[in-house]
Subunit: 605 residues, 2 copies
């Protein structure tokens, strides 16, 4: 019985037949790994996700974290799952061996993570935020900070958070007011309130390591005056034992539509509930240099954005597999035009419109998963490629793809989950089935870690123009190489290569047209349709990449494999014929510098 | 302070300046009414919806109906709201005076109903289903049945249901197995199980009148053997008093993602819990002729489908108004390019992408409301137009518009609610704000009363081809007349008239192209994109109708009115420039008779 979380077969195709993950084992960083250790990690992730995360996904939803005014209570299954995760080492599979991590390449660790995101995004958020936190400290912390905070995170004893938003400052971090006063002893004292802090408080682990953006009084105004601090829930003594309670306390939890398993807290810093060392304020330790906090945080944020895309893809994927399983079993109606009620009803997968909804889901979910794994592979390339030019190239391509990898899965795998409900009919709208929860959970992804609109401004306002459009040019060159390979194969690949080339041509031309007037307000008025159109073009490219990889991998070896290949071909065809054409009117609109929205004054709405 | 449920100003514009509802008072059916009585009903509906329905909308969601194994418990606020509704007569505002109803035209009653659908769809479903039930009995029941069941429904003492689906037969009514055995005394005895019965059991009223589809043994197989029965929860004595408990009992409730205020039951008929008259089976009374049940039920169903569209539009509308209010108040960020953090943040409505999300919502919600009221106006025309040709014409146009009026608001006002969440950012994803509930509630509308895919088959498989495509031709002729009037005005109206004409041209040509191969499976393989494209064209027409009506109504009378007009113009412009172009690739796909989905075998998914 195949899993309804993800397809192990597809992951292996993506990792090995397409992204050539095995070649990474020839690099020094991954020399201790092999195809066997990769497969072992993937199998283990599937098993732990299936046995320890999926079973309480619904309980996370129905029995969400609770705040009693003092403590945050999370159902015990979450703690148990995190324990198993730490025992297996999967919590830190992608972290360096130097701190006790598994040293897996990003692309393999990313594939492992997708199992947990499909099984239980609420519980998976705790270790995922912890890894992001650890990576930031590995990059910008001192050796002591790494020893004190990262190692216990790797061991599963501490979890981590990122504390950016405040009640009055969400997307606009320039306006944060949390302040960090120099205590004169090498530490700082923090005062302020942070909002939307995922995994912000709980008792699942001994300690919580908050990474907090705050302003040092007297520093520059706006984002240039933001510094980054470690603020542990409990102070850590020199020997690693826990010391005093720090003055960071939950003030309440947010009650969300979905994603309920992750305790999401409003945190007060330095409100006076505790006074470590007898002095007011939450003790904080500066990370790196003062006023560089936002830059450090974006180190974590870019990874988090791809993680959001991966989470959206994983939910889209499991919704697809569950609705496919349902459609194969549920009997209803007869073939079109068959009016003979004496014949038995057919499985609904026989109905064309049901297959349309399944094929659309497949094209979104598999396309999105391919995209986020491609990005993870670029991270590996940026970190470990033998020559500097290749590393820079991967970094530049990743830079331009990040807003797409965050936003496209969030939009289209939500749509996939809506289609998964629709395939189930009324049953899918009930809480007896999983898909309604997936839909609610997935709706978060277009909001957190930078909203959809913020991603659009990032793409058209920064990534598409920086360096004279070098990032876009690199994207077009790379995707163009794919279509050249595909065209050489003829047949459907050649058809799709032509479609992709035409769409790629519009990507750069449209950005240029948007900016041709020289007015940023006008250029960016339609940034969101631009982001969405580019997203569809990028995912079309991912589909063509997969078709090329199918071809490279030789002929079908068995019947199951033939079905796998035919399914990939059908989903690619669906994407090129039903989806990619959507971009035409979007590019037209952006290129025309349509001012309808820009010129609508707020008071007429 | 304007309502955030609906806009009373917009309703008056739609009813009077556009749909000329006042002219209906010159017809005998509505001769007792006047603009004043219409306004009185609208004001009353707004007040009752605001004071008695909106306040417990959230409680309906958090404290959903509960089944204790015997009885269904609904929060008391629902009963109180229904009492007020019956006291004001708004529960039966559109039913004939002959049975105690308010005899309002459908278009005015529809506008009144929209207030309740915006305020609290869960509670509003009880009276709405009752009205549908009453209308069916008025059309097909005997005078005794009307006296016994309809009058108490008008008085608010009974509610009604429609019992179609069974666990194994949802969209495929041919497969229902509930059977009705002739008891030999003019009554029948029913045995079977019905699923998804909204308002199926509760104790809000003295009695519940179930209208049940069942098969009389020995009748034709399939849909041709379906008959319709009245099955009251409590038998009704000749003097109108309640008699024995009938053998229809709830077996459980469905726990839904949204729309939770409406108790949705699995009902067992004749399982033996009660034995009225000492004999097994639930007592049922045949409505009309045997084996004509489906035809009668569709009398109710067509109205219910427009009601679903109206409910979707109302939720889209209130989500729009709430996110607009939020966007005017929430301060965040600065104007594009303003990097000076010392300046205060601006209301987010100043950000272009936020205005885009508001304008999109406005174009969807106001467009959808216009469409459903236009359909209600057609019902009035079909019932009361002075000459037979006009009545037939209205009926034919309504027939072709019904699948669009059901499906388009369900799709796009759900998208509006998603945008309403997005405007609120993280706050919109929490249960502290209303919009996440609207989104969950609205997701039902693409499922019940005929799924999205069923509407698509209805449009392209039946309505577009029946009578040689006469329905479509009538639609095109009617919409074409609108564009001719708009073109004569010049300016933006002329621009939009050209765009509408080009799109209308594709509506008929594409249907013809889809069917050109003569193979229904091929023609209907892309029925859903066809439905969606036609929906966008129809709503563009509705927008042009509104612009023409704005012009007809003369110049702005005051500043508030000028803003109203400018808002309508902006939303129309948004719809024509950002939305209508989406249809191009959809029509291309359908016209090409793309076989991608059709040719994908189920086993490769």
């Amino acid at each position: 019985m195949a899993s309804t979380l993800l397809s192990a077969r597809d992951l292996r195709f993506l990792l090995y037949d397409w992204l050539d993950a095995e070649s990474l084992t020839r690099r020094p960083s991954y020399a201790d790994h092999s195809r066997e250790t990769f497969d072992g990690a993937l199998d283990l992730a599937e098993r732990v996700a299936t046995d320890h995360f999926a079973p309480h996904n619904k309980a996370n939803d129905t029995d969400e974290p609770r705040f009693d005014g003092e403590r945050v209570h999370v159902i015990p299954q979450v703690g148990k799952a995190l324990e198993v995760l730490a025992e297996t080492g999967l919590n830190a599979a992608g972290l360096p061996a130097s701190v006790g991590g598994g040293q897996l390449p990003h692309v393999v660790a990313g594939a492992c993570n997708a199992w947990f995101q499909a099984a239980n995004p609420g519980s998976a958020a705790y270790p995922f935020l912890t890894v992001g936190n650890a990576r930031l400290l590995l990059a910008h912390g001192t050796p002591e900070q790494v020893d004190t905070y990262v190692r216990p995170m790797v061991e599963g004893r501490f979890t981590g958070t990122m504390c950016l938003s405040e009640p009055q400052a969400g997307s606009s971090l320039a306006d944060i007011t949390t302040r960090a006063q120099d205590a004169g002893d090498g530490t700082y004292r923090l005062f302020g309130n942070k909002m939307w802090i995922s995994a912000g408080d709980h008792e699942l682990t001994e300690n919580i390591v908050h990474l907090v953006l705050a302003k040092i009084p007297g520093g520059p105004a706006g984002v240039k005056g933001i510094s980054l601090f470690i603020v542990p829930k409990h102070l850590v003594n020199a020997d690693g034992s826990l010391g005093e309670r720090n003055d960071v306390v939950p003030a309440g939890l947010n009650h969300k539509m979905g994603y309920r398993g992750t305790a999401n807290a409003l945190l007060n810093f330095g409100e006076g509930r505790h006074t470590p060392g007898g002095r007011p304020g939450a003790v904080g330790y500066l990370v790196g240099e003062p006023h560089q906090g936002l830059r450090y945080m974006f180190h974590m944020m870019n990874g988090a954005r791809i993680g959001v895309g991966s989470g959206a893809a994983a939910l889209g994927y499991t919704g697809y597999l569950k609705s496919l399983a349902y459609a194969r079993e549920r009997l209803q109606g007869r073939a079109l035009g068959d009016k003979d009620p004496s014949r038995p009803p057919v499985p609904i997968v026989e109905h064309t419109d049901v297959r349309r909804m399944l094929l659309a889901q497949k094209s979104y979910a598999e396309g999105a998963l391919a995209l986020v794994l491609y990005c993870a592979r670029l991270v590996d390339e940026a970190e470990t490629a033998p020559d500097a030019a290749a590393r820079e190239r991967a970094d530049a391509l990743l830079d331009v793809l990040t807003p797409v990898a965050k936003s496209w899965p969030s939009q289209w795998c939500l749509e996939a989950n809506s289609l998964a409900i629709q395939v189930h009919g009324g049953y899918g709208y009930t809480r007896e089935y999983d898909v309604e929860q997936h839909y609610r959970d997935n709706r978060l992804n277009a909001i957190h870690e930078g909203t959809h609109g913020i991603q659009a401004l990032d793409l058209l306002g920064r990534k598409a123009v920086r360096g004279g459009g070098a990032g876009l040019a690199l994207l077009l060159e790379t995707a163009g190489a794919t279509s050249a390979r595909a065209r050489a194969r003829g047949g459907a690949e050649a058809e799709f290569a032509d479609l992709l080339d035409a769409a790629l041509d519009r990507v750069a031309r449209t950005a240029a047209a948007a900016w041709a007037g020289g007015d940023p307000a006008e250029a960016l008025a339609n940034a969101t349709p631009y982001l969405e159109a580019v997203g569809h073009v990028v995912v079309a490219w991912m589909w063509l990449e997969q078709l090329v990889a199918l071809g490279d991998a030789g002929d079908a070896r068995d019947a199951g494999d033939a079905a796998f290949r035919a399914g990939k071909r059908a989903a690619a065809a669906y994407f090129f014929r039903h989806e990619l054409p959507r971009t035409g009117p979007q590019f037209d609109l952006v290129a025309s510098r349509d001012r309808t929205v820009l010129d609508t004054p707020p008071d007429v709405l």
